[in-house]
Amino acid sequence: MRTLARSLTLALLAAAAVAQELPHAFVGARVLPVSGPPLEDGVIVVQFGRVRAVGVRAAVEVPASAKVVDVKGKVLMPGLVDTHSHVGGGWGADSSAPIQPDVRMLDAINCRDAGLQRAQAGGITTINVMSGSGHLMSGQTIYLKNRDARTIEEQCYRFPDGTPMGGMKMANGTNSQQDPPFPGTRGKSAALVRERFLAAQEYKRKLDAAAGDPTKLPARDLGHEAMLEILAGQRIVHHHTHRHDDIVTVLRLSKEFGFRVVLHHVSEAWKVADEIAAANAACSLIVLDTPGGKLEAMDFDARSAAELERLGRPDLVGFHTDDWITDSRLFLRSAALAVRAGVSRETALAGLTLNAAKMLDLQERVGSLEPGKDADFLVLSGDPLSTYTRVEQTWVEGSKVFDLANEADRLWAEGGWGAGLARAGALCCVGEAVK
């Protein structure tokens, strides 16, 4: 929709507003709500950016005022939730120190980056954008709603008080080991992290002791403030970790300081699945075509998802693109390859949606097609786990943000001349209204 004449943009904005008020009914598709079994000949009614009703045709009353969209022969599913991505060209911490909790991705991301458009083409509607793994703690991640935004402010998920939502990126293993002041060993890595958490706890004690008395308050410390959000459970740690021993170290530190953690990549989760299940630690899994490429991915195996499922913990399974390690446009493929390695279809699809939403505390808003949730959904040409299936449309809060039939959108989906350039256009867009 980015090729639409700019002069029409204002009109479109008005049309979008109307579209949100007018209920829309998508009828006739195979609907995969994720929160329940597949619905043949299903109907989804959408209004005000939310899902109003979902069910088989006979069970859903389509409002008389609704615009009906025939999607017979297609498959509808919730928008995908990518729990770990580097789209947007943002860098977090700057290698001046190994632990930098004060640095925010919010201040670094380019919301018009082509990577976000490619993610729309891949059906990704929610993204946890984070900095890299070259630090023990490289900064605050940001949870984005992947709508076409003019500024990052329009794109981020927010707490009820308006604060942008995000987690904290941490890493152990080889990537965060460098010359001093960085750690040179695994033992030193853990020691530095423990010292930092202890310091945050001490900061909290001073804050508590001051009891609001400004004369007794310690000096503001942006890093400690972010650490306190971790300790309070409102900022989840997203922890890069590959090797079995590194995974267990994360679980040990999480237990010691009581922080909530999602394990990321977890190449060797299959070796310590029992420990992960016992610790109730969610796994955002990378799925690679080939093991190796770095020492800590030597024993990568796509069967980790199946192992967690076998232990009765399919709820711990999620996936991510790690874009550019894997391609946002092919995120469905990550789940499909986990099915190849033995996990069930149901767990694979939940790992792209509802389980992933839980890893970001967003399960009340996204991750399944249920009344009251955000109208983030995909129109697929066929089964989501088939090689031959294409994402035909991506909808965010009832607005279409990607349409394969649109030539400009196709460029994001397939590549071609100019596909690497950032999205242009000062007024664009809130998403294309249904016409």
Binding site: P291, G292, K294, L295, D327, T387, Y388, G416, W417, A419
Partner: protein, 403 residues
Amino acid sequence: MNAKLIGAITLALLSQPTLAQDLVVRGERVHTVSGAVIDNGIVVVKAGKIVAVGNERQVQPPGGVRTLSAKVVTPGLIDAHSVIGLAGYLNQPQDQDQHDPTGPIQPELRAIDAYNARERLVEWVRGFGVTTLHTGHGPQALVSGQTMVVKTRGETIDEAVLVPRAMIAATLGAASRTKSPGTAGKQISMLREALIGAQEYQRKLRAAGDDAAARPERDLRKEALVDVLERKTPLLVTAHRHQDIVSALRLASEFGFQLVLDGASEAYVVIDELRLAKVPVIVHPPMARFVEELENASRSTYRKLADANIAFTLQSGYESYVPKTRVILYEAGVAAAYGLGAERALRSITLDAAKILGLDARLGSLEVGKDGDLALYDGDPFEYASHCIGTVIEGVPVFEGSR
């Protein structure tokens, strides 16, 4: 196919002793690639070569020979450009032999001196049905060295090698830019100088004829380039930007060598030039990262080249990080989904690849007389949820399992 003749051959074979390289492979669907798909097909391999292909009425399989069965059988897959075996999966300095950074032009570096037949990446792709690899020095220097063709078997290079020197690998653009060559103009200038030096060496060799005393001193570098000039060895030129592609065509036209274009992410804007030059293209993997020189790459390139009747195939390519190699089966699946279609995608990583490597007399399809190289799958090979359940090289199962 003459069913009677096949029957006669099969009966004749029955009277011979069974060898380790004898095998019967049955498939509910057998993709011969050169001909129609055969339902309930049978392929008979004798002494490593295919001696019969047909359905149950046409082919009487010999008794006492091991039989493998699968839902789907295809020719062994051919990865038309890889670096694995020289590049290893640890990705540490000691297992990265695809690029020596000490000089920009080193055509004398032989791939056979650097190949690790026991490399885990070779074992890995073998498990997806890949039986043949065109591998060697990587796209990281102006001329990085030689390539070769191997079968994905054996514990030594000698057991694996099929063509010891297949091509000489050259690279234009950012990937081979160093302090010098530091520009596109310098890259071509240095290549021209090297080829002119080889022409001079060639003239001296010819002038000396049989007179050993008159011959110039042996020069491994020039010898390799003389073979390029004499069209004994193609020059594989990796180029992504359209201007670099056109430079490669200009160079080939000046020196008359056999050009194979590689990467070519902007090939779709110079289709007419490629068609006119009759240059085959080994296109980048469709899942390559579309960044930097590949920022204009497109997954519709395969369809466009097919429509223009330009010979092309896919490749796994070179990867510097994770994943350390791509898998040609997966890449072809994505190309299929983005407009190429499954049938053409399969042909592209079998028969079309064999043709570009000049090996289609031996490889690339299930036809009598060709090598008994096969891949077995439990469903559509390109479907994510299918598995490769067997790989056969010259009648010998080299992978059995489920990957």
